[in-house]
């Protein structure tokens, strides 16, 4: 019983540190609130979908970055998708990076 409590505490601490470090935000709490007895794995399902979707997007982004000259419109469109899904699950830091990336796209700043 003690071990279980310890695990619970550890998970709670990890979760809190993700918030403290700005990795996740309010929106993640909204997701947690949508989880209940009828949908006990909601958060896990959404996060899993997010990882899969992100992996796919990252591959597309990398391919687009390999092209010369850079297609900024394509990159911007991909980042828009990535930013959207990150925002929907509360992945704050990722979302911020996406926003930054899109600024570079708008400025056609290939170096950025």
């Amino acid at each position: 019983m003690d071990q279980r409590n310890q695990f619970h505490r550890q998970v709670a601490l990890m979760r809190q540190s993700l918030f403290d470090q700005g990795y996740i935000d309010e929106q993640f709490v909204q997701l947690e609130e949508l989880q209940d007895d009828t949908n006990p794995n909601f958060v896990e399902e959404v996060v899993t979908l997010y990882y899969r979707d992100s992996a796919r997007l990252i591959v597309s982004i990398e391919q687009a970055l390999d092209k010369s000259p850079l297609d900024f419109n394509k990159l911007d469109s991909l980042m828009h998708q990535f930013k959207g899904s990150s925002s929907s699950i509360g992945a704050r830091k990722v979302k911020a990076e996406c926003t930054q990336f899109r600024e570079y796209c708008k400025a056609e700043n290939g170096e950025g």
């Binding site: 929106q27 909204q30 997701l31 609130e33 949508l34 949908n39 909601f42 399902e45 959404v46 979908l49 997010y50 979707d53 828009h80 998708q81 930013k83 959207g84 899904s85 925002s87 929907s88 699950i89 509360g90």
Partner: protein, 169 residues
């Protein structure tokens, strides 16, 4: 409040994450949900995709004045449509227009969602007949705003049984 059949919402979004989220939000509010990933799929489901210049009067035998009489197999019973704005191919705005042009669906409330807060976009959608414009990520408080629109629709359908003239606002 008497709840007969559950309200049926059609959700349109190309993002699988947003689809999952909106589905969950809607189901939590006890709505029946069908989620599709594009405007064209939505039109297909609604039976609006057959003919671009389609004469919808040809679809089914129901009188043009009472669109809410039992649907033929092409039309679908839908109480609200919620769609993302920015989608490849057909945007939510295009979808909105097609729905408003449809005899059968033009009175179905349409809600647009977008991750970008662009006032001119919001105005355009509302002018075209969208009931609400939600900024993403959509939350439960937004979904709660849908209920009055759905109830209004249902009330209107019930009135249509007795009077053919619908008050179009």
């Amino acid at each position: 409040m008497a709840t007969e059949a559950k309200f049926h919402v059609l959700a349109v979004d190309d993002s699988i994450i947003d689809r999952k989220l909106i589905e969950r939000l809607l189901r939590t509010s006890s709505y029946q949900v069908t989620a599709v990933d594009s405007g064209s799929k939505a039109l297909e489901l609604l039976g609006l995709n057959r003919d671009k210049e389609g004469e919808e009067e040809e679809i089914g035998d129901e009188a043009e004045e009472t669109p809410s009489v039992s649907p033929s197999c092409q039309e679908m019973e839908v109480n609200l449509i919620i769609t993302d704005y920015f989608m490849p191919g057909m945007t939510g705005y295009d979808l909105l227009r097609k729905i408003k042009e449809s005899k059968y669906y033009k009175n179905v409330p349409v809600v647009i969602m977008s991750s970008e807060n662009v006032p001119s976009r919001i105005t355009r959608c509302l002018e075209e007949g969208a009931e609400e414009f939600f900024l993403k990520p959509v939350q439960l408080s937004d979904v709660n705003k849908l209920r009055p629109h759905l109830l209004k629709g249902r009330g209107r359908d019930q009135k249509a049984a007795s009077s053919i003239e619908l008050a179009v606002s």
